[in-house]
């Protein structure tokens, strides 16, 4: 009765053997659930040096510790595995309705090892788990497959499905796992691992109750949070045209203030993440032209075409994930695009709009809607796919590849028709598309000719669409996280809004400060980035949403919810120690698998080498080497190598826990 079930399901796809395993309470107290539980299982189960696409890799689906307890915005599920993209720890998470479904089947996680002889899917309902033939859906896209599997397996309750599309089947290293017709756990190449195992889908139809320690206390915290969110509504006078103006102001601001994150909810309710389309383009937050351009290139005649109001014009239904009171998602009508090939699509997220818009100098919003649906159905990560196209365009511009390489495609900046065609080729692994279908690092390796200069990545993974020259702490996390290139781990903006210092004794307090401080490698900045990373692990351990996190700990009360759900009565400092342990375990996983953390440093262009010559980030440079060292030092890892120090491993009790495992 602590919010978790204490059980996992372990499926060997080679032998077909399925077993239930009990996880000791100590594991949850030390690592929570979600990504922490995943790290515990994978560290112990995957032998060092295992091929990420081979039978020894373990693919896991985990729910958050708070999922289903009555807490809010804690419905994200995690996919974990050894990443074929980076060679180290891999995870991705997604909203929708799959996380509670895992628990309703009686488990905190479902793990797969081995490789099936033929395509299969796992069905779990109240009668138990069984592997079923998936030949009839193999070769179909994720949306169509999901609809077929739901129709086949609905008895009383409609099941929740996690499924790969054709990108995963073709083992594209930038494939993700899809859910609810277009949500996707996209990063780390998790879909490639699922495809390599010939596991098409996981179909969950259980209906067991989810119990916790003090549901009434959980409810009271939830009511307070929901009450505040309910009040967050923008006045009618605030239109989308206002956002780029605000972006411009932000980009020119010499000082930074810790704002009230709760107000962020009002923007998310109205526009969802596309609110940033115009605002981030003008502030400097959005990388432009493969990270080599600025808003001087992607000027008003461009960014005004992808503004948030244009996006929501097509939205006919709002979309809320499980236990969400914001509802930043939406479903959009696209029946007039692409000769009516698709009727609707999930509202494209900011990331998708940014990498298929400014990153490619593309101002054709209709093409972005269309590509969004193509990628959602194929189950391909839009962040990585957009960067792959940007890489190809810059190589084309520089003359390193020609129309002969591209199969006749004219890959000029902003050529929407060519972008669509190239994405279709990547999904089908046809011609030049096959070169790009495994991400930019692999593409540069295949092409040679000095193209690696334009392959923007960190440790093999393409970065999120948030410029590290705008928020250097974002660059630190791109470079030091065990899953590099991730925009969801930490940043100054996140730290300032999360306001950890209100509850965590060692988290540096922030008042209004000069923006230049963010560009300095100091102990204070490093402590902030460490605190951000530790807290994000907690969020990923409880199934939390980043957008809830950044409303602030004073509003979205994760620590209090955890105590109410588990009865542990831990302090925020004690929970942060759990976060530190989780992050250190993920790093230890990488060390076990031969990763040198120094090789995860982001592409030099992302650190302002060479610096941009115009725009709001003109001249900005990030001392990334020094920042990485300080971050590692304050984590208790070797400041020169990024390897966790033996005394840190011991202090965190990981030596004991892992030996027991």
């Amino acid at each position: 009765m602590k919010g978790y079930t204490g059980k996992i399901l372990f499926v060997n796809l080679t032998t077909g053997h399925i077993e239930e395993r009990t996880i000791p309470d100590q594991v949850y107290e030390m690592l929570l659930s979600g990504v922490g539980l995943g790290a515990y299982v994978l560290y112990n189960e995957i032998p060092a040096g295992a091929d990420p696409l081979g039978p020894d890799n373990v693919l896991g689906f985990t729910s958050g510790l708070l999922t289903g307890t009555g807490s809010l915005m804690t419905g994200r599920w995690m996919v974990v595995c050894k990443s074929p993209l980076t060679g180290g720890w891999g995870d991705a998470n997604c909203g929708g309705y799959f996380a509670p479904a895992i628990k309703q089947c009686g488990y905190d996680g479902i793990f797969f090892t081995g490789i099936a002889e033929k395509p299969v899917y796992l069905l779990v309902n109240n009668k138990g788990p069984q592997l079923k033939d998936a030949s009839h859906v193999w070769g179909k896209d994720a949306t169509e497959s999901e609809e077929i599997l739901i129709a086949e397996n609905t008895v009383k309750k409609k099941p929740a499905v996690a499924v790969i599309g054709t990108a995963g089947e073709k083992v594209s290293l930038i494939a993700g796992v899809c859910h609810d017709r277009g949500r996707i756990a996209a990063r780390s190449g998790v879909g490639a691992v699922m495809g390599s195992k010939r596991l098409k889908a996981v179909v969950l139809a259980g209906s067991k109750p989810i119990k916790c320690h003090d549901p009434q206390a959980v409810k009271e915290i939830s009511q307070a949070f929901a009450g505040k969110v309910r009040k967050q509504n923008l006045p009618g006078i605030v239109k989308g045209g206002f956002l780029p103006v605000m972006g411009k102001v932000m980009g020119s601001m010499k000082r930074v203030a810790p704002l009230d994150g709760m107000l962020f909810a009002s923007l998310m309710k109205k526009w969802g993440t596309p609110m940033s389309n115009g605002m981030s383009a003008t502030s400097g937050d959005t990388p432009i032209k493969n990270w080599a351009g600025s808003v001087k290139d992607y000027n008003r005649s461009y960014y005004s075409k992808i503004n948030a109001d244009h996006v929501i014009k097509r939205e006919y239904r709002k979309y809320h994930c499980y236990s969400c009171v914001v509802g930043c998602g939406g479903v959009c009508n696209i029946s007039d695009i692409g000769q009516g090939k698709f009727t609707h699509t999930h509202k494209p997220e900011y990331e998708t709009c940014a990498v298929f818009g400014p990153l490619l100098m593309n101002r054709n919003l209709e093409s972005i809607f269309y590509i969004n649906e193509l990628l959602n159905r194929a189950g391909m990560d839009s962040i990585s796919a957009g960067h792959a196209v940007a890489f190809a365009m810059e190589c084309y511009e520089k003359g390193l590849i020609t129309r002969e390489d591209t199969g006749g495609l004219e890959l000029t900046w902003g050529n929407a028709g060519a972008i669509i065609k190239l994405v279709e080729m990547m999904i089908a692994r046809e011609g030049f598309g096959d070169v790009l279908a495994d991400g930019v690092k692999a593409a540069a390796r295949k092409l040679g000719r000095g193209t690696d200069k334009y392959a923007i990545h960190a440790g093999g993974q393409e970065p999120g669409a948030h410029d590290s020259r705008f928020d250097p702490m974002m660059g630190v996390h791109y470079s030091v996280d065990p899953t590099p290139g991730r925009h969801t781990i930490g940043a100054s903006q996140y730290y300032n809004m999360t306001r950890l210092w209100e509850k965590v004794s060692w988290a540096p307090a922030v008042k209004i400060y000069p923006k230049d401080e963010e560009y300095m490698a100091t102990d204070r900045e490093a402590l902030k980035s460490v605190a951000g990373a530790c807290y994000k692990q907690i969020v990923d351990g409880i199934g939390g949403c980043l957008f809830a996190q950044i409303t602030g700990v004073q509003h979205w009360q994760a620590f209090e919810w955890l105590n109410a759900a588990t009865g542990w009565n831990k302090t925020p400092d004690e929970y942060m120690l759990i976060g530190k342990r989780m992050q250190t375990l993920r790093q230890l996983f990488n060390i076990k698998h031969g990763i040198d953390p120094r090789t995860f440093k982001m592409h030099r262009r992302m650190a302002g080498d060479p610096p941009l010559k115009e725009g709001p980030l003109k001249g900005r440079q990030v001392p990334i080497d020094a920042m990485m060292k300080l971050h590692w030092k304050h984590f208790g890892w070797d400041e020169n190598t990024g390897v966790p120090l033996p005394e840190t491993v011991q202090e965190l009790g990981l030596d004991q826990l892992l030996q027991k495992g």
Binding site: K228, K231, Q232, P235, V238, L243, M246, G247, M250, M253, R255, V256, A257, P258, L259, D260, M262, L263, F264, S266, L267, M268, T273, M275, S276, M279, S280, S283, D285, Y350, E351, G464, H466, H487, T488, Q493, M497, R499, W501, E502, A509, K511, I512, L546, F547, I550
Partner: protein
């Protein structure tokens, strides 16, 4: 008494402590906070400010523990 203030970067935050609180006299109104923050007169009509997440008037009398937030969107993910 103390009120919590989420100020904007271009305002004067000297009167706000590390936890975000500002000391205000009994009976103080929102106007007092504006004065302390040195909110430029020109910006006042376009700044969105709430007290306890409700629309507020300049002559609204503040209570101990009130939360005063200024609206200024930042980018998301």
């Amino acid at each position: 008494m103390k009120v919590k203030v989420y100020a904007l970067p271009f305002l004067n935050g000297d009167a706000i402590d590390e936890m975000g609180f500002m000391e205000v006299p009994e009976g103080a109104t929102l106007r007092y906070v504006y004065k302390k923050l040195q909110v430029p007169l020109l910006l006042r009509p376009i700044l969105l400010c709430s007290v306890n997440y409700e629309k507020a008037r300049m002559d609204q009398v503040l209570q101990d523990g009130d939360v005063i937030s200024f609206f200024f969107p930042i980018s998301g993910g």
